[in-house]
C-alpha cells in the first residue's frame, strides 16, 4: 500500500542517485587520467627502461609492473600475444612499480639483470616462480635467488650491481614518474601515451587495436 510505494520510490531514487554519481565520477576520472597522461608524455618512458620489440614499431606499450603482483603475472602472456599478433609493429617498455612491501629488492634485481642483458629472461623466471616467493601479496625477496638459477646470470656481479646507487636511482625515478602519472595500481598500461579507459584485458586489446589502425 502507501508505505510500500513510499519505500520503493525512496529506494529506487537512492539507487538512481548512486548510479548517476558513479557514472559522472568515472567519466571525470577517465578524462582527468587522459589529461595527466597527455601532459606527462615525456616521462612515460626513460632511457633506462627495458624495451622489447623493434625500435621502428609505431605502437608503444608502456607497462608499470611489480614482479610480485599476481595480475601483472597474468597479463604478461597476453601482452606477448598482442605483440605476436602484430609482428614488428608493437614494442613494450617496462617501468618499475614496486608497490608491494619487499618487492623493491626484486625490482633492483631486475634492473641489475638488465645490465647483463637478461632482463626479460629474469622477469619470466620470476613470474613463473611467483607463487613460490610472493604468495598472497607477501613477497619474500630473499627467496627469489632460488628461482633465477636457470637464467644464467653472473650472481656476484648481480649482487654488486643491486647495491649500486645508480640502480637505486632508477627505481626512485620510476616510482616518482608513477606518482606523477597517477599510477597507483599495477599493472598499468599506456598505449602510445593513452591510458586504458578502465582496467581489463579487453580494454587493453581494444586500445592496441585502435593504435594499430591509426598508425598503419
Amino acid at each position: 500500500m502507501n508505505q510500500k510505494y513510499i519505500f520503493g520510490i525512496a529506494a529506487a531514487l537512492m539507487v538512481a542517485v548512486f548510479a548517476t554519481a558513479t557514472l559522472v565520477h568515472d567519466s571525470d576520472k577517465s578524462a582527468r587520467r587522459d589529461e595527466v597522461a597527455d601532459q606527462n608524455r615525456s616521462i612515460l618512458v626513460r632511457e633506462h627502461s627495458p624495451t622489447l620489440g623493434e625500435a621502428e614499431a609505431r605502437v608503444h606499450i608502456v607497462e608499470f609492473l611489480d614482479p610480485a603482483c599476481e595480475t601483472c603475472r597474468d597479463f604478461f602472456p597476453y601482452v606477448k600475444q598482442l605483440m605476436a599478433a602484430a609482428p614488428g609493429r608493437i614494442r613494450v617498455s617496462v617501468r618499475y612499480a614496486p608497490f608491494h612491501d619487499g618487492s623493491e629488492q626484486v625490482v633492483k634485481l631486475l634492473a641489475a639483470a638488465k645490465l647483463q642483458g637478461k632482463f626479460w629472461e629474469t622477469l619470466e623466471a620470476l613470474f613463473a616462480a611467483q607463487p613460490n616467493w610472493a604468495s598472497h601479496h607477501n613477497p619474500q625477496p630473499d627467496m627469489v635467488w632460488n628461482f633465477i638459477n636457470g637464467v644464467g646470470l653472473d650472481i656476484a656481479k648481480l649482487r654488486a650491481d643491486m647495491a649500486d646507487p645508480a640502480i637505486d636511482a632508477i627505481v626512485r625515478q620510476d616510482l616518482a614518474d608513477a606518482r606523477t602519472l597517477n599510477v597507483t595500481k599495477t599493472p598499468e598500461f599506456f598505449v602510445n601515451g593513452r591510458p586504458m579507459p578502465s582496467f581489463g584485458y579487453e580494454q587493453l586489446k581494444q586500445l592496441v587495436a585502435e593504435e594499430l589502425d591509426s598508425q598503419y
Binding site: Q3, K4, I6, F7, A10, A11, M14, V15, V17, F18, A21, T22, H25, D26
Partner: protein
C-alpha cells in the same frame, strides 16, 4: 481495543523509515567512497560498516509488516556502531593518543581523507548517522509503546 492499537503502532513506521533512509544513504555513501572513489577503508571504518550495512536490510524487514521488535534487533547494532564512531572521531581529533590506535598497518585511521566545511570528516558523518538512527529508533519505540 480494536482499531486503536493498530493506529498507534503505525505511528512508529515513519521514524523507522527515517532511520532506514539514514542507514541506506550511509551505506551507499560508504560504497561510493570505497568502491567508486577508491579510498581504502581503514580498520575502524570496516567495524562501522559491519554495524551499518545490516540495518539496511533489518529495518525494512520490521517495517513490512510493522513489527516493533525490530527496534530490539536494530538498536544493539546501532549502539555498537555508534561507540566505534565515537572512538574514531576522538582518534582523528587527537583526544585519544595515537599510541593506542589499533591500526598501525594498512590505512591509518587517523588520516583524514575527506573534510567538508572544515569539520565533516568521514568518521564524523558516520557518528552523525548512527546518532540519528539511534534517536529515530528510540523515537519509534516511544511512539509505538504509547
Amino acid at each position: 481495543m480494536k482499531a486503536e492499537p493498530v493506529a498507534s503502532s503505525q505511528a512508529g513506521w515513519t521514524p523507522l523509515f527515517g532511520a532506514w533512509l539514514v542507514a541506506a544513504s550511509s551505506m551507499l555513501g560508504a560504497l561510493f567512497l570505497g568502491e567508486v572513489m577508491e579510498l581504502p577503508p581503514c580498520v575502524l571504518c570496516w567495524w562501522q560498516r559491519i554495524a551499518m550495512f545490516p540495518l539496511v536490510l533489518i529495518l525494512p524487514a520490521g517495517m513490512f509488516p510493522l513489527d516493533r521488535s525490530v527496534i530490539r534487533y536494530a538498536l544493539p547494532l546501532t549502539l555498537a556502531g555508534w561507540l566505534v564512531a565515537v572512538f574514531h572521531v576522538l582518534l582523528v581529533a587527537g583526544v585519544i593518543p595515537e599510541r593506542i590506535q589499533p591500526c598501525a598497518r594498512g590505512v591509518s585511521c587517523k588520516e583524514i581523507q575527506i573534510e567538508w566545511f572544515g569539520f565533516l570528516t568521514i568518521p564524523m558523518l558516520s557518528l552523525i548517522a548512527f546518532t540519528l538512527i539511534a534517536g529515530l529508533l528510540l523515537f519509534a519505540q516511544h511512539r509505538m509503546s504509547r
